[in-house]
Each structure stands twice: as C-alpha cells, then as structure tokens.
C-alpha cells in the first residue's frame, strides 16, 4: 500500500480539485482530508458519515473562584497571557498545566475539551477519513495524525493499494503531520511568483523529511513564462513533472455541482490534463 499527500505550500492552487479527481479515477483507494481547519474535499466527494469520534485536544485550565486566593502566581507564570483577573481565557490557554501544578491552594482545574470531530465515511469512490477542527482551536497537527491513523488502519483492513491524502497549505504542524511516513508527495503549484516561492519552501520541507516530490503545474497558461521557468527548475533538480493543467472555467462549474471535474465534464481541457497526470502518477508510483 502506498500513501501519497497532495501539498502546495501556497493555498488555493488546486490541491482539493486534483485530489477529488484522482479519487474519482482511482480503483482501490482510500481518501484522507488532512486540511482539518479549512476542509473542502467533502464538498466534492459527498461522503456519507459512518462513524464520528470526538477529538480531545489539549486540556484547558479553569480557576475555581471559591478556592482562589488571588496570590498572582498563575498570572506570573502563564507565558501565554491567558489569565486576566483570575479568569482563564480558553482561547489563549495552550493547556500547558503550569498554572495548575503551581497553584498553592489547588484552585485550578485542568479540564478536557472537545477540539473537533473525526469522521469515517463512505463515498461513491471509496472510503474517506476526515475531520473538523473546532474553529480557533489548537493542535490541528494532532487531529491530522488521528485522520491519518484512521485512514491507515482502515486501508490495511480493506486491503487498499493507495491512500490519497489532501494536505493543507503552509509548512507547519498540520503539514508535517500530513507527510509523516508517506511514500511520495504531489505538489500543486500555480505559475505565479508567490506560488513558486511557496513551492520551493514546500520542496525544502519534503527534502528535510526525505520524501520524494512530484510537481503538477495548475493553470499553467496564466503565465507561460513562469511555467517554463518551473519546468526548467524541475528538470535541473531532478523532480518529476507530472502534468500541466490549463486554466479552465469548468473547474469552478464542477465545484458548484459538487462533482470532481473528471466526472462532471471528462472532455473539458482541465479534465483531460488531469487524466494524463493521473496516468503518469500511477506509472511513477509502482
């Protein structure tokens, strides 16, 4: 079984559009949406939720006003400025427990909190593992790890040969969690200077974790000069260029119909290019 994460660095370059189309083209795969704080894959794969699990994030401190003697110790020790007038602001509290163990009168409780939900679902293309982080919460990396673990376990049980992971933008904790123990990564880039800048940082991250990158240029025709530079860059650095997808308004039309574009309109220019990209992806993966 292979696990592959679709990344981009910069947001909005087309990760989910490509993941959903790959899902529709796959024969024996499982899908994991690891963008837990701005998830979109479910909007194209329309999963039917089979199992929901609460995600317990970090605990949160609570000062019992009956017991508190207002000595000031907790306020002095909290490095996250989460305590004001002996009330903990749950948005700022990072659940470190320092105030709890240092309170001289044991007035601070350390309560678990639900920070999101993890789901196991069925789609018409195969099973799906996904989640929703409660907006504003910490620890998206831990929830991503849970989504990955659910995906891996189920894929092994069902003898799937591919786990397709839709990643999140950036290079921080949720992204690092989404690329742990994968076989390869597809990085989707748009030919803009920002897109190229962010691609390079994503590639550095993959190199740091010794993961094989493959590149897809999306909307390549919005700046053909930049696309040519990208192709040259891939060649010079021995990075597989999986495909070049043209700008195509059909992509948005398919999204509005909540359908992967390769199914919505297989004859559209973008769908044809994605099918070619998928073929090359499969040839390289074996």
């Amino acid at each position: 079984m292979k696990q592959v994460t679709i990344l981009s660095g910069k947001g909005g370059t087309g990760k989910t559009t490509i993941t959903a189309s790959f899902a529709a083209l796959s024969k024996n795969a499982l899908f994991a949406d690891c963008d837990v704080d701005a998830s979109n894959l479910h909007l194209l794969l329309n999963p039917e939720i089979k199992e929901t699990n609460e995600f317990m994030g970090l605990n949160v401190a609570y000062i019992d006003p009956e017991k508190c003697i207002q000595c000031g110790k907790c306020i002095e020790l909290c490095r996250f400025n989460a305590i004001e007038d002996y009330v903990v602001d749950p948005i700022h509290c990072e659940g470190c427990k320092t105030c709890v163990v240092n309170c001289p009168v044991e007035a601070i409780q350390f309560n678990p909190r639900i920070s999101g939900h993890a789901y196991i679902s069925e789609t018409k293309y195969g099973p799906m593992s996904h989640a929703r982080l409660t907006p504003g919460m910490e620890n998206s990396g831990k929830l991503v790890t849970q989504v990955r673990q659910n995906a891996t376990k189920l894929a092994e049980e069902l003898e799937k040969d591919l786990v397709l992971v839709d990643g999140s933008p950036g290079i921080g904790c949720p992204v690092i969690a989404s690329i742990a123990n994968i076989d390869a990564s597809v990085v989707v880039v748009e030919p803009t200077l920002s897109g190229i800048h962010d691609l390079k940082r994503a590639l550095e991250l993959l190199e740091h974790f010794e993961i094989k990158p493959m590149v897809v240029i999306n909307k390549y025709d919005i700046n053909e000069e930049n696309s040519a530079d990208l192709e040259k860059f891939c060649k010079e650095n021995n990075i597989e260029l999986l495909g070049k997808i043209p700008f195509d308004p059909t992509v948005t039309k398919a999204m509005v119909q909540r359908t992967p574009i390769v199914e919505f309109n297989p004859d559209s220019p973008a769908a044809k290019a994605i099918v070619e990209t998928w073929k090359r992806f499969n040839n390289l993966l074996v």
Partner: protein, 282 residues
Amino acid sequence: MNTKSLKIAVASGKGGTGKTLVAVNLALSVGADQLLDCDVEEPNDHIFLKPSSTKSEPVELLVPVIDEEKCTYCRKCAEFCQYNALFVAGETAMVFNELCHSCGGCKLVCPENAITEHPRSIGELFTGEAKGIELVYAKMNIGEAIAVPIIAAVKEHAKEEGLVILDSPPGSACPVVESVMDTDYVIMVTEPTPFGLHDLEVATEVVKQLGIPLGVVVNFAGIGDRGVYEYCEKMGIPIIMEIPYDRRIAELYSRGTSFTEEMTEWRPKFKQLLERIKETLQ
C-alpha cells in the same frame, strides 16, 4: 479603538482567495504606515512590495536543556509536558525541540533543578521599507511546527500609532487566532464558490468568538454561485468590496506586481474601502 491607531487584519479561511492581494493593494492605495505579514509559513507580501534596506534578526524561543549530571531520570518533566516534548526512559533524557511550546513548566517541576532554558532559533524576522510603508515579515525555519511564537514576534513590531495592516495565514486554527487577535477590524477575503463559502463560515466563527467586527471582500466575483452572498445576507455581514475575475489582475499578480500600480482606477476604491471601515468603527 485608539483614534490614533487602526489595526486591520486581512484573513480568509480558504487559501489563495486573495488575502495578500487585498492587504498589499489596500496598504499601497491608502498609504498605510505598516504592513505585517503574519503568514510566517509562506510569506508573500515582500514579493510584491520588494522592500529595500531590509534588516533581519533571528526569532528565538526558550527551550529546556537537561543537565544530565543533575538529572535522576525521575520522569516528572516528561509526565508533566502536555506536548510530548520531553522523553525520559532508563538513563536517557531527551528534548524534542520542535514540539516545545516554551511554557517553562518543566523547569518548575524538576525536583533536581536540572533544567535550564536556552534560546533556540525557529525563524528569521525581516524589517524593510517600500513606498513609505514599513514591511515586517518572517520566515519560519523549515521543519519547525509551531508558527504562533513567530507570528507573535512579527506583531511585537506593530506601530503604536497609524494605520497597520496585517496579512493573516489561511485556515481557522491557532495561527489565525494569533494574527487577528487585538485588531480593530477583520477583512475576510473569499471567493464565491462552495469552497470559499465553507471556509468563510469557519473563519467567521473564529473572528466572532474574538468579538472583532468584520466585512467581506468577494474576490473573483462573477465565477461560481450565490452561496457567499446568501450567507453574508443571512448573517448580516456587509460585503465591503467586490473584485471581479479579471485576467489582467491575475497576470499582474503572477508577475509579482500589485495591480493597483497599473490599474490606478482601483486606488480610489481601496480608499473608499478604508473610509467605510472607519465609519463602521465610529
């Protein structure tokens, strides 16, 4: 709100909707005093502003160092750490720096005083100037997990007076909270598609929890569907600007050019946007 200062954050939920486009063009059109790029994982504002005489400094975080001469491997620190950043087994004590939130708690629970804290570089912060605007941005080191302290370092440079614009990272998790916190107004940039709507909803929840007034800029107007408009109407969120899908804007963006520099007819629109925000806040 301090009348001498105005802090406006630009956020989005979904990535690639045009946060940087709006933040940079607003700053240029109205002559903002400062632009803070809070997307420390993938900063882009400097690509458009091309600041000169840039100065850099490291962003450091205090992390524990265990003195194994004093350590008795009692495991109290490892049991205490909520982030699994400390590992003690047998006669080995290890610190996983990337997981440390720098709360300082382990040092306090150690009965042997074996833990001291030392600064560790987690990123680099840059300050420069372009067209009268001070730009502050940072780059998180590759392989680092926690962006929040770097965002905090960028925000520490915020001017006390004048107009400060903050470009937030995408999403709805802790980096977004850190970026928009303590600002006076949030401009939420979205695209009129099901993806744009879904992520606008989650990001709006964050901003509402923080009690900050917000308005929506619809970018790529004309594509997609009416979902974003219906949502804003239902929630009573004003749509404060629409930027149409325009191939010329996209091409200028791809070259790293701020479109209001070429399409100057847009500057008064951004000025009006700022006036509208100021009126809302009065």
